[in-house]
Amino acid sequence: MHLVQRRKLDIFIEGHALPRVEHMLGEAGFKGWSVFEGVEGSGAHGGWRQTGIGESAAFLVIAIGSVEACDTALDWLADYFRTYPGVVAVSDVSVMRAERF
């Protein structure tokens, strides 16, 4: 089994930021990513919950790519998080089918 080292970003953001973050990931060189909608959770400001009446929930964007793409994305996110809520976690991962990342 052939595995290749790549870097993974787990980005938690508010709903309104999703189009901008997805655009940024494409520009940074990621070939793909996945978006998951949060239902409820708890953060630095206490609990939050998707209410179903239009209040935006938190979204998790998972992106796996090269070190260079991750560094470009992290620079953008560092600037973004100076203004808006959100967090990002970075980890090294082993992937199959390296050409897809």
Binding site: P19, G52, I53, G54, E55, Y84
Partner: protein, 327 residues
């Protein structure tokens, strides 16, 4: 007047919609697992906005563009834009709320609640008081000016970078789903008139509308109670503002309605709109434009305090006051 208000309040408290709201609030308070699935709640909200807009448009089609509409709409626009400045002064200097959060909260109180409007309309229908269809258009006009006022109050220092001219923000402010559906449905009702009503009248009014409103309010009761239970940062001054400000706004609107020569029903709805606070359209825009504002303050105030207050006490009280002022 007090006797009339008490009698109206008693009748309101026994309406199915209010009792379902109370049931939801009890379920939320008691930590019951009762809940309306998120996607269903969104469909219910979409339905209510579509029905309110469409019915308003059909009625406006029948009555035509009247001077009364122009006066009510003009007041609504001006109130929605100017009220946040007064609310901000009280929140900042009386309630001692931090500047950006005070501006964000003020925006919520300048804007309006669609569901409070729906409950107010149903209350008037239940007691046989007529009102104009164009009040749904006044509702749509009052949705967004308060957001612009909040941006002006805060100035460039507290806004997100580029918030004033950020296309995404303007899209959120002007084309948010709630405002677009409400306005669009009103226009469709205006175009199709009675012919349109003959086709889908059974879908947007009567028992179906009442039932959906009950189900939506059940969900709102659960959400409001849970939101209140999770609130950590609210103080007594927040509670006082959330209940006293709607009263002041509603009274101001009623005296303005008297000057403008509005009917009893329209005056009551104008008071309901002025006394209500947004919890759908404005929070979404504020998250984008004023990200440093504390959602733990403005959301519980508008959703968990002002909304239930208006629903249970405010609506019949505003109508009783309207009878006294308008005659």
């Amino acid at each position: 007047m007090l006797e009339t208000a008490w009698s109206a309040a008693s009748a309101n408290l026994l309406a199915p919609a209010i009792l379902f709201f109370v049931l939801g609030a009890f379920a939320g308070w008691a930590k019951s697992d009762l809940s309306v699935p998120d996607q269903v709640a969104k469909i219910l909200a979409l339905y209510l906005m579509m029905a309110i807009g469409f019915k308003g448009g059909v009625e406006a089609n029948a009555s035509g563009f009247t001077a009364e509409f122009a006066r009510a709409g003009g007041f609504g626009l001006a109130f929605s834009f100017l009220a946040p400045f007064a609310a901000f002064a009280v929140l900042r200097f009386v309630c001692r709320i931090e500047r950006i959060t005070a501006a964000a909260t003020a925006a919520h109180y300048g804007s309006v609640s669609v569901v409070t409007f729906a409950a107010g309309s149903e209350y008037l229908r239940s007691i046989g008081v007529e009102f104009s269809g164009h009040m749904a258009a006044v509702l749509a006009l009052m949705e967004t000016p308060a957001i612009l006022a909040a941006l002006l109050i805060v100035g460039s220092n507290g806004r997100a970078p580029g918030a004033r001219f950020q296309p995404a923000l303007w899209r959120e402010v002007l084309l948010n789903g709630a405002a677009l559906l409400l306005t669009g449905s009103f226009v469709i009702g205006l175009i199709t008139g009675e012919a349109g009503m003959a086709r889908i009248g059974g879908f947007v009014s009567g028992a179906l509308f009442q039932g959906v409103l009950c189900l939506f309010l059940l969900d709102m009761g659960v959400i409001a109670a849970r939101r209140l239970a999770e609130t950590r940062t609210l103080r007594l001054v927040h509670v006082m503002f959330a209940t006293a400000w709607p009263l002041l706004s509603a009274m101001f609107a009623l005296f303005a309605a008297k000057v403008l020569g509005l009917s009893l029903g329209d005056a009551t709805l104008l008071a309901v709109l002025s006394g209500s606070a947004s919890y759908i359209a404005v929070p979404a825009a504020i998250r984008m434009a004023l990200p440093k504002a504390d959602a733990g303050v403005y959301l519980p105030m508008s959703l968990a305090m002002t909304f239930p207050f208006n629903l249970v006490i405010g609506i019949p009280l505003y109508h009783a006051a309207a009878q006294w002022i308008i005659g």
